[in-house]
Amino acid sequence: MLNEKILARLHLEAILPNMKTMAEEDSKASEIAKGWDGSIYFMAGVSGPRATLQITNSSVKVTPGKAGKPDIVLFFPTERLMNNMFKGSGVGFPVPLKGFTKIKGLTTFMNLAKRMEEILKGDKAPAELKAKLMLNTVANAMVIIANNDEEAKPMLEHKGVTEFSIKDGHAVNIEFTGTKAIGKIGNADAPDLILEFSTPEIFLDVSDDKIDLMAAVPLGDIAIKGDLHMGEMAALPLLDKIGLYLQ
């Protein structure tokens, strides 16, 4: 059973922040962001997660919670309504508490969301960018799930740092402290477990559950070393859970 509140956090704290990277590295996204300066505050449910998307001079910033005085406030009475909007399925619309006449801001956000979907779900975007966004999503999502999902609690008992990286490319790492998980962008100083994917495509195939991970390691497509037990008991089950939430 997926928890809608956790899914809402995944949307606001793991996926939405990708808009920053996307606007920095994708010319189409940057062009879209040029269309409007302002901020949108997302409120999921009465006591659910919140985040603010700020667009300034075509650069995008996403902050958990409320940042500054937002131009538009989108309140979703339940987490499910917001999740449906992000998933593009079922009933998913907000109550615009503020700025409902600022059509340009809403359109800019919707176009950025559409562009992100094109990158993450389409096959025309560069694999490097897609993999980078997915890796960042993994780092953030793993932390959210590990720290909040009841079934994931046993996974938190492990201690150590897991690093996911693309060979000669982007990396993220997640530290399991024994009681919580902390995600960071970049290589870890002293990782205990390293999963290095030989190409962005291999990582994306793993993310999409299109590849036999256990076969990919001896085939040389993925290098793995260090605390494999942590991988077996925490990192990989969490990766699996991300897939369940975000499928």
């Binding site: 046993p154 036999d212 256990m214 390691v217 001896p218 085939l219 070393k225 605390d227 494999l228 008991m233």
Partner: protein, 411 residues
């Protein structure tokens, strides 16, 4: 010259196209050091095996335990093949079924009867059934990080295993009598059985021997609360004591599970029990397509005879002690900190100043590339086929592997 594994890699590529994981279960190369270990075997003899690239190894995994007298042992193999010529799976059992049950009752300290299956999981699963059948209770106590097979009731978080599969399973730390007493109190008159290995041999951790008084305490608590005490002797059976590891540690369980070394590599397992469990065992429906195959029983009889004749446990203890002493001395000479744990016949070595196994993986990889097969994460096994010459050569290779660890990590 370091070994290369080109044929292994080519064969694995073929395997991965038609077999999930390529090589699955505990044989997966993923938990070794992929690229530094062989994937497929060509042949095996004595304490050695040869991979399909032609590389020869002194093998300290012994097929993860089944091999105890050496690969391709002539006495055991001849017993198997001779019987196989008379039929394998036949409509009715061979008299060897009776012979082997009598032999188990004769040799094993807690055996008043015996049932046979194929894998260790057959024996452990049947033991649960009998404990529940005898007590008419549901709950089973197991040790954290213990292993009793890949079946859902003993599995962990692997895909497809659901919480309901383990609804009546209670976990306690191995060797913690007080923790066991607590769950017994908390689940008064609900616990059917407690299944433990005679000593703790988890993967990824040092092995742990029982504290004095632990097993007598366990026996007492089980008796006082009508709990069936089950010993999973699948991994340690025969190597410590031919009468069973429980005898070695000075107690008597109600049920004991055997497999692995019982037939030096032929597929057969056994569940033995005391008279107390005899009638409930007679009420259970225990069977499988190949459970009455007679060649494996012939192999088991030959293996048990040979193990008794040459006093296997004392040979294994001596060889294991020599190996571990040598490894400890070499590590110290290189300024490295290692811990060796478990009984010498089933030893394990781990670097003391790490938890992520990176030193162990480098050590294992270097040894593998030079003809010695140690597992970096799982306990090892000694066989009677391991010679003093094997151990000498092993230590020569280990010396270079320790140097590689020292060069890379410094300590």
């Amino acid at each position: 010259m370091a070994y290369t594994f080109n044929k292994s890699k080519e064969m694995f590529a073929r395997a991965a196209k038609v077999i999930p994981q390529g090589i699955y279960g505990h044989f997966t190369p993923v938990i070794l050091v992929p690229g530094a270990y062989p994937y497929f075997v060509q042949k095996a003899k004595g304490s050695h095996f040869w991979d399909i690239d032609g590389n020869e190894y002194i093998d300290y995994m012994c097929a993860y335990g089944p091999m105890i007298l050496g690969y391709a042992n002539e006495k055991v193999d001849e017993a198997f093949m001779s019987q196989a010529r008379n039929g394998t799976a036949v409509t009715i059992p061979s008299t060897l079924l009776v012979d082997l049950a009598e032999r188990m009752v004769e040799i094993n300290d807690c055996a008043d009867w015996a049932l046979f299956g194929k894998n260790g999981a057959d024996a452990t699963s049947l033991a649960l059934v009998l404990a529940r059948g005898y007590t008419r209770r549901n709950k089973i106590v197991l040790a954290e990080a213990g292993y009793h097979g890949a079946q859902p009731w003993s599995g962990s978080n692997h895909v497809g295993i659901i919480p309901a599969d383990r609804n009546d399973i209670i976990m306690v730390p191995w060797g913690d009598l007080n923790a066991f007493k607590e769950v017994v109190e908390e689940n008064k008159d609900q616990i059917a059985g407690a299944m433990f290995t005679p000593y703790h041999h988890p993967v990824w951790e040092n092995q742990k021997l029982p504290e004095p008084g632990f097993w007598t305490g366990m026996r007492r608590v089980c008796d006082e609360n009508d709990i069936i005490l089950i010993i999973d002797d699948v991994r340690s059976g025969w190597r410590l004591d031919l009468k069973g590891a429980a005898h070695y540690f000075g107690f008597k369980p109600d049920l004991a599970c055997y497999c692995k070394a019982i037939a030096n590599g032929y597929p057969i397992s056994a569940l033995v029990g005391t008279q107390k469990m005899r009638i409930v065992a007679s009420k259970a429906y225990a069977t499988g397509s190949y459970w009455a195959n007679s060649p494996e029983m012939a192999a088991a009889l030959a293996c048990i005879d040979e193990m008794e004749k040459i006093d296997v446990p004392s040979i294994l203890r001596q060889r294991g002690e020599a190996l571990m002493k040598g490894l400890n001395e070499l590590a110290a000479a290189h300024g490295l900190q290692v811990t060796t744990s478990g009984p010498p016949a089933i030893p394990f070595m781990k670097f003391a100043n790490e938890t992520n196994f990176m030193r162990s993986q480098l050590f294992g990889a270097e040894c593998s590339r030079h003809g010695v097969f140690f597992h970096p994460h799982h306990n090892w096994f000694i066989s009677t086929a391991h010679t003093e010459e094997d151990i000498k050569k092993t230590l020569d290779v280990a010396d270079k592997a320790f140097k590689a660890v020292k060069d890379k990590f410094g300590d």
